[in-house]
Symmetry: C2
């Protein structure tokens, strides 16, 4: 018999340490090893210590897949995100990964270009038996959302809500923010206003608009609405077009900051002075809003708090599924800078 020496060491190195190996070294059963690493299982302190010592020596880590095969769940959170071009979202992403990491969860990132998440993305998440799902700035069909409920996978809509009341959502209180912005602009002496909407179909847009118009109407302030798309270019072009066809209003409320920056640049291009001739208010308080080139007055979304609440809800549901539905709305605040 000829020993193949080149194969031998490779084989030995490739042996992965299993619970069985740890059991042998610790002098306990494989079940006991398993119990030490399975949250909620009961083991005596004595065997726990023996197992931990042996595991440390061998460098043992439980195999996640074997575990998932039985429990039908992973320590992965599905994070679906639309529109990463908005600087608001990288911040959100960073916050989420930081929070989840602290709780031992990993983040599976799904990017969608569509307003409504595609079925294949969802199937993928369900396939991976994610512990929970976060949908930011996008919607999904009711039917698809329900498939999560069936699988008892907790789901939360972040910065977007469905009007069906069946799902948990975390938003800024957009209605109230719209109102406060209207009151603020009125207090600054604006006599007529223009609202530039982002994507009209979104709940965030509708709430902001509703609150804003409500207050204007009650003060008999005339207003107009224009629709754009939540991008810089959209804001820029919309403002350019407004200046062609309309008289300059006393103030603009723009659906988000990135559009508002576009509006400001368009106004400046036509030498419209801000805030003397007209005023501009944005929404989000992205970093750029505070830059000297813009100094944009805006509404700050309480991102950290929103993320925290989302994570808390998700972890609670993962631990003990209730399917509780609630539309959580957090306040935020006006940041008064140089454009008003």
């Amino acid at each position: 018999m000829i020993l193949n020496l080149t194969d031998l060491p490779a084989k030995m190195n490739n042996h992965t340490i299993t619970a069985k190996d740890v059991a042998k070294l610790a002098g306990v059963s494989q079940s006991s090893v398993s119990r030490v690493y399975f949250e909620g299982a009961k083991v005596s302190e004595k065997t726990r210590l023996k197992v931990i010592a042996a595991a440390e020596e061998l460098g043992y880590k439980p195999n996640e897949f074997a575990r998932s095969l039985i429990t039908n769940r992973t320590k992965i959170i599905g994070l679906v995100m639309k529109g990463v071009q908005n600087p608001f979202y990288p911040q959100v992403l960073k916050q989420f990964t930081t929070f989840f990491k602290a709780h031992g969860y990993s983040v599976l990132f799904v990017h969608t270009n569509n307003e409504e998440i595609q079925k294949e993305d969802i199937e993928n998440l369900i396939n991976y038996k994610v512990a929970g799902v976060i949908i930011t700035d996008a919607t999904m069909s009711l039917k698809v959302a329900e498939s999560f409920q069936e699988s008892k996978i907790p789901l939360v809509f972040f910065n977007r809500k469905l009007y069906t009341d069946n799902f948990f959502s975390v938003c800024c209180n957009n209605l109230n923010a719209g109102r406060k912005i209207a009151e603020f602009l009125i207090s600054k002496g604006a006599k007529d206003m223009i609202y530039i909407a982002g994507n009209t179909d979104t709940s965030t847009n509708q709430d902001r608009q509703k609150g804003f118009f409500e207050v204007l109407a009650s003060h008999n302030i005339p207003y107009q609405k224009f629709s754009s798309d939540y991008t810089y270019e959209g804001g820029y072009n919309t403002a350019l077009q407004i200046m062609e066809d309309n008289v300059m209003p006393n103030a603009f409320f723009v659906g988000n900051d990135i559009m508002a920056l576009g509006v400001i640049d368009a106004l400046r291009k036509n030498s419209v002075t801000i805030p003397t001739t007209t005023r501009v208010v944005g929404f989000d308080n992205i970093d750029m809003a505070g830059w000297p080139a813009y100094e944009l007055t805006t509404w700050e979304q309480p991102i950290v708090e929103m993320v925290e609440q989302t994570v808390n809800y998700l972890l609670a549901e993962i631990h003990d599924y209730t399917g509780e539905a609630k539309a959580l709305e957090l306040d935020g605040r006006l940041i008064d800078r140089q454009t008003t």
Copy 2:
């Protein structure tokens, strides 16, 4: 015997469809079903058709965990990213997820705040037996990187390279870009220059700087170097400080766009006119560089091409591991706008 009617339907719904179920319906063995769904396995067209039909009827999907338990690999790519605050990276993230989705891979997103990736993040990725790993804008210790090689998990450094030659990396050709920018500024008549570095330790910074200084030296153009941190605030504050202590140079080459925007705002604050009094060139060509408020001259990194090459390499290595190491450098080009 009392039938518990409330429990019954739930139990029936919860039965997940396995290969066994499909086998029974199709009238074949479970192994045959498995072969139909395992790439590379051989089945006759006849049984394939029978299996597909049965699977469709039952809504069968292979369990990824059972599969991974055996193959020791998943269809997940680990994407490690530092510094999501730079608008350059969301673009990169979007590109990667889009490409990988097209190839049936999901992306596990890892955010790191440190320049060097923490060991725990890496262990997590290895634990999940990812098919491959991308490290953007960060480094890792050699020892950790080698643990990927041992596990035969392909690894690529994106927009960063290690000087050990042992790893695959995809970058913009920073050395050449630095040279070209120097030549360009000289051609514009700049007689002395300042280079504002981002993080000095990074390969990207070192290469850009080297190429830039090399050309300046050969033309006997005096230059100074200042160090900052790749953020807007960093650029802003560094420029402010430069103006306090130094005479204004003819031109600034700033390590990335986001810093360059800060530099521009600082110059403007002190009423320094651009490009008449001094000139500014950035790096990356992020969206904002093209905004009317800045119109920044900059070097465009060929992101799509860089991502494409990264994905191609990774997929090739996943399919057939070679451990090939190569520092790939793609050119990019100068975008000549209003700040020069």
